[in-house]
Symmetry: C2
Subunit: 145 residues, 2 copies
């Protein structure tokens, strides 16, 4: 997603030691401009240098917990992973193609979300806001014809 993010620094800031595998996972996520499912991340990494599936899951859990990475739910079964909102990157909605399973990032201005009034009266704690549009992407629309 970004050439401005210092992954090593992001890990340190989150209080996790920057092991090789963590850096690798974070780089894949960060260098991709759309969120990826765990299986894709594992496959990509495993091709360049073997890494266990479970290790990837554990690293993802850790990075999500430290809010370095965001876990994004889809209409489908697998969770997708992208960079968590930070100084460089605003939170933004996603588009999920129910046909090919690809998830794209939309620009933050796509939608105008104003829930601050609500936030102040809500009796629970809000950690995260997720917004997703589901549909059929341009490519899949073309193929359909």
């Amino acid at each position: 997603m970004c050439i401005h993010c210092d992954y090593r620094q992001l890990l340190k800031d989150g209080g996790v030691s920057p092991t090789l595998n963590r850096l690798r996972v974070l780089e894949i996520i960060g260098s991709n401009n759309f969120p990826l499912p765990a299986a894709d991340i594992h496959e990509t990494l495993d091709r360049s240098a073997p890494i266990n599936r479970v290790t990837v899951y554990r690293i993802l859990d850790l990075l999500v917990e430290k809010q370095i990475v965001a876990r994004i739910a889809t209409g489908g079964r697998a969770a997708y992973y992208g960079m968590a909102p930070n100084a460089q990157h605003q939170a933004h909605p996603h588009f999920y193609c129910t046909q090919c399973g690809r998830m794209d990032c939309l620009t933050p201005e796509t939608v105008d979300i104003d829930f601050h009034a609500f936030e102040n009266t809500f009796p629970g704690r809000i950690d995260k806001v997720e917004m997703r549009l589901d549909g059929i992407c341009r490519n899949c629309l073309k193929k359909k014809t």
Copy 2:
């Protein structure tokens, strides 16, 4: 969700024959004022009169396809089911408690979503917009102390 919805009619309008089991599934969903996971729906129905897990899944798939019921993704693993937006019910955001797994409906005015400008320029097809707040609900906050 509603005493105004005629479930039998909703099924007919969607072009599916109103079998007993379909009515039962739809009534559970409709009479609940928050979305439920498939397992809960099955458990509840199965207690009053035995029904197969797979039958419930199949009915849910059918109702979602016919847009009578909405499948709502959570931060967790299971999908939740609620009434699809219709004449009686506007689309609305949900709040998902990451602690107890309960999902609540929020009022449609909670957030101000304006994506019509975007919709007109987007090259794909948008079928659905889903918005979800994750956090800890009031009850779980209390328990924590």
